[in-house]
Amino acid sequence: MPKYSAIRVVLASAVLALAGAGPAFAHAQLKQATPAVGGAVATAPMEVTLNFSEKLESSFSTIIVRDAMGKRVNKADGQVDKADRTIMRATLDSITPGIYIVEWRALTADTHKTEGAFIFRVGE
């Protein structure tokens, strides 16, 4: 991994950690993610799936997955599952080993906005 992209990841992690340290104002909490929050997977996943604690509003909930360079790697089809509105997913482009950042924003059915981000790793 090029050195400066490692710095980017460290910086991004620091920003995320600080953002998370603010007052707990999260309404929809991210209960579970695939790939897992901070986890590593051996082979490149086809999609990112997020499980929330509450029902989401499709029109105002989004996922963006970026590579370590900040380039968007998910297709524009990211959306809330129609059958189970606590699930939001996004299909990925074919991605290479490296570190990826998932940025999500969610509006719950009771009109509360929340957002978050996490990192996962593909390969070694």
Partner: protein, 311 residues
């Protein structure tokens, strides 16, 4: 407290409760009291002032509802008011969110109520149903609406009952005070006032009983532990709300247990008791208004249950 959404929500809740409480009071308390007392002159006067109050409250309900929708659309899209209106965000919120659906249905209910509000005998059932639905459907703007499964359903039913009961009690207190004030100096006022107070008490007891049970269910659903009740902002505000409710309840109990029996006494004793009931009702309205502001604030905070699990 500098978030306008808190105040718009509080105003909307208060106005909606005034509409519902006003309609229920007119139908179940005022009209039977007028009939029992057989006075058409004082009845006409009180009826028109109560109806006028309900119309104003309905207008405020619709306007504050519109402001709530606009603020929310602005909030979720992070756009200016002009952009929300010009870029169709308002329409998206209205047609593609649960809040928007509940909003549209409630606007239709408000329109139905406006038609039924002259309260002719034929439209009475429509008016009662629409009045209850207008306030009950507010549950879809609350935390219960975002929950899945059986807990979500229980919470939603409990919320609906809580809202209707709160409206039947709090919303009927101003009409009660208005009626007592209006008949105080009328020659035939005493029988109307006595009958209204007598009829208010079962409505009050039923509403308060429902409020206590549904309130306990909701508290459990939203905080889940004593720790969350005292250890989070949400829990502490909720505790304050319950405390104010208990004070409000003591004034209601004084009215019911001590003053109400005295209204049956000799005219000077009865008149004194009625004046105190009127005053206590206004104190209850004041306490209830503070409670509604707290409700406005609570809706913007994460429930205690979530706040604790986040730390």
């Amino acid at each position: 407290m500098d978030d306008p959404l808190i105040w718009v929500r509080a105003l909307h809740f208060a106005a909606t409760m005034m509409v519902t409480g006003g309609v229920l009071f007119l139908i179940f308390i005022a009209e039977p009291a007028f009939r029992a007392a057989g006075d058409t002159q004082v009845a006409a006067r009180v009826r028109s002032s109560l109806a006028w109050t309900a119309w104003v409250a309905l207008a405020v309900t619709v306007l504050s509802g519109a402001a709530w929708l606009l603020l929310l659309a602005q909030r979720v899209s992070e756009q200016s008011v002009a952009e929300v209106l010009s870029q169709g965000t308002l329409w998206t919120v209205l047609t593609q969110t649960d809040f928007g659906l509940a909003w549209t249905i409630r606007l239709a209910i408000a329109a139905l109520l406006a038609v039924a509000l002259p309260l002719s005998a034929r439209l009475r059932v429509v008016a009662i149903t629409a009045a209850a639905a207008l306030v009950g459907a507010l549950a879809w703007a609350g935390h219960a609406a975002a929950r899945e499964g059986a807990p979500g359903a229980i919470h939603l039913v409990s919320d609906i009952l809580h809202l209707v009961a709160a409206a039947a009690w709090f919303g009927a207190l101003i009409p009660l005070a208005l009626l007592l004030f209006a008949v105080r100096h009328a020659a035939t006022g005493l029988p109307v006032a006595r009958e209204a107070v007598r009829r208010f008490s079962p409505l009050g007891i039923l509403s308060v009983g429902t409020l206590v049970v549904s309130g306990a269910v909701n508290t459990w659903m939203l905080t889940g532990s004593v720790e969350a009740l005292v250890g989070t902002d949400y829990g502490r505000l909720l505790t304050l709300k319950i405390g104010l409710f208990l004070v409000m309840l003591s004034f209601g109990a004084i009215n019911r247990l001590w003053l109400s029996p005295r209204t049956a006494g000799a005219p000077p004793i009865a008149a004194g008791a009625l004046w105190r009931i009127e005053r206590n009702s206004l104190i209850e309205v004041l306490l209830g208004t503070i409670i509604i502001v707290i409700v406005g604030l609570l809706g913007t905070l994460p429930p205690g249950l979530e706040d604790l699990s986040n730390n």
